[in-house]
Symmetry: C2
């Protein structure tokens, strides 16, 4: 099953010129909704693309960010994490294992941008933290 065509069109929607590497990265993001880090993306793609450079993954994600195709999460202190789902949703990070999960179904007013005379606010990020069940049990 070849999803390259779909991913190709997806990139063009954001005015991103497709290349083999860009298509592979975006394809990975579309299929792995796990808020991956640069290193996770690189490690996943590297076996099937041995010449891939980690710098390219950095460049590609920075380009996706500029074009608004992905969102950078600041929930993880260690690494930048990326999310292709730019709809209104929150995140949860497990302080033990470090995994990041989506939180859907919150009240819409939580995502409202407040008026403030001192700033122009144009986005909000909501980060919950605690312990996931898997870590709790162990």
């Amino acid at each position: 099953m070849n999803s390259t065509l779909h991913t190709h069109r997806y990139l063009l929607q954001y005015a991103i010129k497709p290349s083999v590497q860009r298509t592979a990265v975006m394809d990975y993001l579309l299929k792995n909704r796990t808020h991956p880090t640069i290193d996770e993306i690189y490690t996943a793609l590297s076996p099937s693309m041995p010449t891939l450079s980690k710098t390219t993954v950095y460049n590609t994600l920075n380009l996706f960010l500029e074009k608004g195709a992905v969102q950078a999460l600041v929930i993880d202190e260690k690494n930048a994490r990326y999310d292709i789902d730019t709809s209104a949703h929150a995140h949860f990070i497990c302080k033990k294992c470090g995994k990041v999960y989506d939180i859907f179904g919150l009240k819409p007013e939580v995502f409202e941008l407040p008026q403030n005379p001192n700033f122009t606010i144009d986005s909000v990020e909501i980060a919950y933290s605690g312990t996931c069940n898997a870590c709790k049990e162990s």
Copy 2:
């Protein structure tokens, strides 16, 4: 005006054994509600404490974190920032100058912790971003 006594008692409330360095760092945090970075704290205290080591500032803030005396903010991708105000409030970061401001007066339900069968959620951080007035004008 000597505030060391007050700060001294403040540390003891969190079961932190006071030392000259710890008192100085906590005193700085209490008087400068600017969500400072490690480097900002070190640079501010260094002139009056020439032997102060940056490692000590790192150690001290990590101790304060463990003891719950300060909160670490994840809003800034570049550096860790620290806040002694652990009450329910949000933050705003200006994407141009990088300064972090407090946002008070939000509806209480924004800070409510949702129930979720998969996680035990014990805190929330709300991070707005955009441009501050000063950067907008320039």
